[in-house]
Structures are given as structure tokens and as C-alpha cells.
């Protein structure tokens, strides 16, 4: 009798254990039917281009994946938090995504200063973070195990500016820059690049990012006979410089970085279309919204956002989300943060069809995007006119 009851108890316990145990331990933010992705970036304020608009682009990919049945049977859920391009707000937003929303990973990061603010919190949480637009070198150098970027870095942009000026045959190259944290992160590598090439800029002018007038700077650059001006400035200062340079009849090759990549908008800000005739800027992506290659995305965009106009930043979101989806696919059915990280670090020569070059990450190099597309206005329309690839 005693033996029978012991056996029954053992069987009951074993049965209970079998019922209670899940098929496998689930990762945070992952269920058998969903994977939750946190989107971090500016949803309001002037920086919304690098946040909300890119997220909208990414959303197209995620919704299309869901329509096709998800990844390994899991639908993608997204949760957005607004960092308002502000470091303090970004810390709170990252905490909310990690601890309240319990997301599997973060796909986001627009304004560099906000991303740098959120960086320690995300790094400490060991949560995968694929950055879509922030260009601060410190975010991926030195590499943190779970943090990767599909955006260009500030130093790659700066070196590319000089490379492009030389490609264009410029002989007397000058710089106009703003010297806040954003500007310095580009200005210093730019000066290093000058040094490495053994070139001295013929003029090195400073301007504040919120400048309303740039006549003195334009006059000084003109007096220095600079035939190319590398612009390390925000769109507002760039608009003032291009307008005032045109006003005084000064027409150098104007070479901007990604902050000036939306040339149609910059033209409206300058107010004088002729002032844009010699303007080039870096774009993270190879194609413009109206290009034939973007037809399928244009069609989907108009379905998801019928009242809006597709921009360069939407395309950037689409490209970056394609990388995320590819890595989720490769990470397999048993998705964990570690398996995602491992697959991300192995991603080699992945062609999104949108970035100017392939996406390649390694364990040592989490700067996965190194090719800059150069855009200009051709017959009033933004076109890709060249590409440069540099190392960091």
C-alpha cells in the first residue's frame, strides 16, 4: 500500500512538472506568436525626421512581414517611445521600452545626442539595439556586444566629404562648421582626414547652427578663393550660407553631409533654387523616392500612409528594417537576444537594394554601413550622382 502511494505521488509530481514546464524558456519580448520591437526616436519636434518618419518607413516592412505570416510564425509588434532628440528624455524612453514595454530589441536612434544619452542604459540591459540614423562614432566604437548600426558614422561622413571634393577636382578646399557637440564629432575627424592627405584647408570658418545670416562667412571663403566648401552644419545654417553665398555671387562646390541630404527641402529653406546648383550632400541610401527602383515601396507607402509624401527618411527606415528582418530570420525559431546578436555579428555583404553598399558586420566592427551615396539636384529633382566607400 505504502509503495503504491509513493509511486502514485511520484507519477503525479512528474506529470505536474511536465504540464508546468514550457516547451522552452521564452526570451523577453518573444512569444510563440509575436516578437516585440521597441522603436526609439523623436516623434515630435524638429528631429522627428530622424525618428517618426524613419519609423514609419520601417513599419511598412514590419507590416508586410506580418501579412506574409511573420518570421518563424511570429508577428512583429512595435512600440514607440519619443526621445524628442533630448538625452534626458531618451534615457527615460529607453528605460520605458526595456522595463515597461519589455521589448525584445530596440530598432531606433535618430539624433546622436539623444542616442548617446540612452546608450549606457541600453548597453547595461544587454538588449539588441540596431541603430537606424544616429551617426555618433562612440555608439559603436569601441563595439558593445549588442549594439550595431545601419547608419553611416560621423567620421565616415567627414572623410567621405573630403574624398568627394577631391573626386570633383577641387584644388582649394575650405570648411565651414558649427562647433557644438554635433559639429565637433564631425569636424575633428575631418581635420584628421585633411592631415592624412597632407592638405591644409584654405579657410576654416565657424558658424552657429541657428545662424540667420552667413554673409561674413561667405565673404571670407570667397576671399580665400575656396573652390569647394565642406559644410559641417545644420540645415538652417546651410540655408543661410547658400543663400548669402549666392547673394554675393560666390559659387563654390558646396559639399554637405547627411543632415543636408533632403535637398528639395533644403531648396525651400534657402528660398533661391539657383543657389543649389552646385550643392551635393551625402545620403544614407542609394535611391530617391521618385526613382523607378522605389516603385514597389512607393506603392506600399501610399497604401499605408495615403495622406503623406514619401521621403528619403522613409526609405532609410525601410532599408534598416530589412536588415532587422533578415537577422530575425537567420536567428531561427528559438529566438533569443544572444542568437540575434550572434547572427547580426555574422551578417556579411547583405544587399538591401537600398543602401549604397552592402551591410557587413563582424564581432569587432559593429559599424555595418560604410558607403555614402552622393545626391544633387538634377533638373530640380534629387538624384544619386556618385558613391564613396571609406573605412573608419
Amino acid at each position: 500500500m505504502r509503495r503504491t502511494s509513493l509511486l502514485a505521488t511520484a507519477l503525479m509530481l512528474a506529470g505536474g512538472a511536465i504540464i508546468a514546464a514550457p516547451a522552452h524558456a521564452q526570451e523577453v519580448g518573444v512569444t510563440d506568436t509575436t516578437v516585440r520591437i521597441g522603436q526609439l526616436g523623436a516623434l515630435t519636434g524638429p528631429g522627428y525626421l530622424y525618428g517618426k518618419i524613419i519609423m514609419d518607413g520601417a513599419e511598412i516592412i514590419y507590416q508586410e512581414v506580418n501579412k506574409a505570416g511573420g518570421i518563424h510564425g511570429r508577428k512583429i509588434e512595435t512600440v514607440r517611445q519619443d526621445d524628442r532628440c533630448d538625452p534626458a528624455t531618451a534615457i527615460a524612453a529607453a528605460k520605458k521600452l526595456i522595463f515597461d514595454d519589455k521589448v525584445f530589441m530596440i530598432h531606433g536612434g535618430g539624433c546622436t545626442n539623444a542616442s548617446v544619452g540612452a546608450f549606457p542604459e541600453i548597453k547595461a540591459a544587454n538588449i539588441p539595439w540596431v541603430i537606424f540614423a544616429s551617426v555618433g562614432d562612440s555608439l559603436t566604437s569601441p563595439p558593445s556586444p549588442h549594439i550595431f548600426t545601419t547608419a553611416l558614422s560621423a567620421s565616415i561622413e567627414s572623410v567621405s566629404q573630403l574624398e568627394f571634393a577631391l573626386q570633383k577636382g577641387a584644388k582649394r578646399i575650405a570648411v565651414i562648421s558649427q562647433r557644438d557637440a554635433w559639429g565637433r564629432s564631425r569636424y575633428q575627424p575631418l581635420m584628421e582626414a585633411f592631415k592624412q592627405k597632407g592638405i591644409t584647408p584654405v579657410a576654416d570658418e565657424e558658424i552657429i547652427g541657428e545662424a540667420n545670416d552667413a554673409t561674413p562667412q561667405a565673404l571670407r571663403l570667397q576671399a580665400a578663393k575656396a573652390d569647394a566648401v565642406l559644410m559641417v552644419i545644420y540645415p538652417k545654417a546651410a540655408a543661410a550660407f547658400l543663400r548669402d553665398a549666392h547673394k554675393i555671387g560666390y559659387k563654390p562646390i558646396a559639399i554637405g553631409q547627411t543632415a543636408l541630404g533632403d535637398l528639395p527641402v533644403l531648396t525651400k529653406q534657402v528660398g533661391v533654387p539657383e543657389a543649389m546648383s552646385n550643392m551635393f550632400a551625402i545620403s544614407h541610401v542609394r535611391y530617391m523616392p521618385e526613382d523607378a527602383e522605389m516603385a514597389q515601396w512607393r506603392k506600399l507607402f501610399s497604401e499605408y500612409f495615403p495622406r503623406e509624401t514619401m521621403s528619403l527618411y522613409h526609405i532609410l527606415g525601410i532599408a534598416s528594417a530589412k536588415v532587422v528582418v533578415e537577422v530575425l530570420q537567420r536567428a531561427g525559431k528559438d529566438l533569443t537576444r544572444e542568437s540575434f546578436r550572434a547572427q547580426m555579428a555574422k551578417l556579411t555583404n547583405f544587399d538591401t537594394g537600398i543602401y549604397p553598399g552592402p551591410i557587413t558586420c563582424t564581432e569587432q566592427d559593429h559599424q555595418c554601413h560604410k558607403s555614402a551615396a552622393w545626391v544633387a539636384l538634377v533638373d530640380g529633382k534629387i538624384k544619386t550622382v556618385a558613391a564613396t566607400t571609406v573605412g573608419r
Binding site: P46, L49, R84, N212, T215, P235, K236, Q269, G271
Partner: protein, 291 residues
């Protein structure tokens, strides 16, 4: 080069002067510094953007509507933020104006934050430069320069020739005496804040094609305009214009001849020097003891 620097300096100075006029109107009438004056400029610009660009009204009606809307916002901010604190002292009013500046910025971010980064505003005439006897200038800069002089004359005439203008000066000179003779101090304070906001609204419509519009434009403009107002004398409308033009000229000339890295700091160095020797500002007059 000198000609270009002078014209661009005067145009930049006109911008500072237009904002400084609003600061002086409020200070002259209430003794308070409204730190939200830059945000009132910003809001005036967005009102004009809403009427002219988003709703498609012509330029002049949009300008007038933006000025009227700014006037009411100025009156509202007084009623709800400043009036309850006027008796608590000017430090409390100053702190309230900081709160108002953040509030207005937040409102603008929520309403217009998703429209663009730096929002362009069409110019009154043309965006292309014109040649005036060898000087290439932007027509909008001429408009802004002329408008700052016109606005200055208008405000000076208002204070000198209208009854409410004289009352505003009376309460600024001696609130207690003004109250004793039956002047409604509260209503006049409200009018001063509303007028200050209206002038900021007018300035914004005139300058928006040059400054572009974004919710964070206010603070930087306020700093330069406040410096201009202090330089010219905080009690003087003409001083605000003169101070603004000097700040603009100094910035342009120093950036052109000394170096662009000194542009931002140059105006403040001049102001410090002026204040050491003329503490009440260029047009501040002699200090008088109030009785």
C-alpha cells in the same frame, strides 16, 4: 566687403530690434522682463504659417491675423500666468515667464512639430537678391529693416499720443499714484503684455522667410534681443532699435574682419563695455529717483 557686411549687419540688427521692441514695451509698462518673448515670436510665426501656408490666406491678411492672434495669446498669458503673481514681486513674474516659454514651446511642438524640421516661410516680395546701386541685398531684409523703423515710430507715437499709452507710462513711473487717480492697473498690464506679444507676432511674420520656423527658435533670439534692449536702454523703444542695429553690425563686422569664431561673442563684449560706462544703456537717460 564693407558694404556687404554693413547691409547684412543692419538686416540682422533689424531682427534683434524687432524682438527687442516687445521686451521694452513690457518692461517699460510693468517693470517685468518677459523671458517668453522669443517664444511669442515663434508662436506668431507659426500663426502666420498656419494662416498663409496651411490655410492659404494672402500675405497681408495673414500678417494681421497673426498679430491679432499673438495679441490675444499675450493677454491670455498675462491673465493666467502673470496677473496672479504681479503682487508677489518681479522675480515671481520672471520665473512664471520661464514656465510660459516652455509651455508655448511645448504647444508649438505638438501642433507643428511634425510638419518639418526648419519650416520655410514664403517671402513678402521675392527670395532672390536685388541690386541697389551696387549693393546686393535680399528684399526681405529691406522689408524687415523698414518694418523695424516703422514699428518703432508706431510704438513711440502710441506711448506719446494715446491715452492708454500715457497711462502705461504712468503706471510704469508710479503704480501707487496711478492707482490713486483711478487708472486700472491690471487692465493696463494686460494690455502691455498683449502689445508686447503683438509686436513679436509682427516681427515673426516679417522675419520668418529669413529665420525659418521651428519650435526652438525663441531662446537664441531672445538672448540677442535682450542684449540689444539692454544696450539701447530698457526703457527706450528707440534704444531697442539702436541697440539691435549695433548688435547686428558688431556681429557682422567682427565676423568679417576679425574672424567668424568671434561672431557670437563679439556683441556681448561690446555690451559689457557699454554697460560699464553707460549702465542705463545708450538711450536710458539719467537715473531718476521715483517719488
Amino acid at each position: 566687403m564693407l558694404g556687404y557686411l554693413i547691409t547684412s549687419g543692419l538686416a540682422l540688427g533689424a531682427l534683434y530690434a524687432l524682438v527687442a521692441i516687445g521686451i521694452v514695451i513690457v518692461f517699460k509698462s510693468t517693470g517685468a522682463i518677459n523671458l517668453a518673448q522669443g517664444e511669442l515670436f515663434m508662436l506668431g510665426g507659426f500663426f502666420a504659417f498656419m494662416f498663409h501656408v496651411q490655410m492659404g490666406y494672402p500675405y497681408i491678411p495673414s500678417l494681421l491675423l497673426a498679430v491679432v492672434a499673438s495679441f490675444f495669446i499675450g493677454a491670455l498669458t498675462y491673465q493666467f500666468a502673470f496677473r496672479p503673481l504681479m503682487k508677489a514681486g518681479l522675480v515671481s513674474v520672471l520665473l512664471a515667464s520661464i514656465a510660459v516659454s516652455f509651455l508655448l514651446k511645448g504647444v508649438a511642438r505638438n501642433i507643428w512639430g511634425g510638419v518639418g524640421d526648419y519650416i520655410p516661410f514664403p517671402p513678402m516680395i521675392t527670395a532672390s537678391a536685388i541690386n541697389l546701386n551696387g549693393f546686393i541685398v535680399l528684399p526681405q531684409q529691406l522689408v524687415a529693416f523698414g518694418a523695424s523703423i516703422a514699428l518703432m515710430l508706431l510704438i513711440v507715437a502710441y506711448f506719446k499720443f494715446t491715452r492708454s499709452g500715457k497711462w502705461l507710462q504712468a503706471i510704469a513711473d508710479n503704480v501707487k499714484a496711478a492707482t490713486l487717480v483711478g487708472i486700472r492697473v491690471g487692465a493696463l498690464h494686460r494690455l502691455a503684455f498683449a502689445l508686447g506679444a503683438a509686436s513679436a507676432g509682427a516681427a515673426a511674420v516679417l522675419m520668418a522667410p529669413l529665420t525659418l520656423l521651428y519650435p526652438d527658435i525663441g531662446f537664441n533670439l531672445f538672448i540677442k534681443a535682450f542684449a540689444a534692449a539692454v544696450l539701447g536702454g530698457l526703457h527706450s523703444i528707440a534704444g531697442a532699435v539702436i541697440g539691435g542695429l549695433i548688435v547686428g553690425l558688431v556681429e557682422a563686422l567682427v565676423a568679417g574682419y576679425v574672424g567668424s569664431k568671434f561672431q557670437d561673442v563679439s556683441a556681448f563684449v561690446v555690451i559689457m563695455l557699454v554697460l560699464v560706462f553707460i549702465p542705463r544703456g545708450i538711450m536710458g537717460g539719467k537715473a531718476m529717483r521715483k517719488v
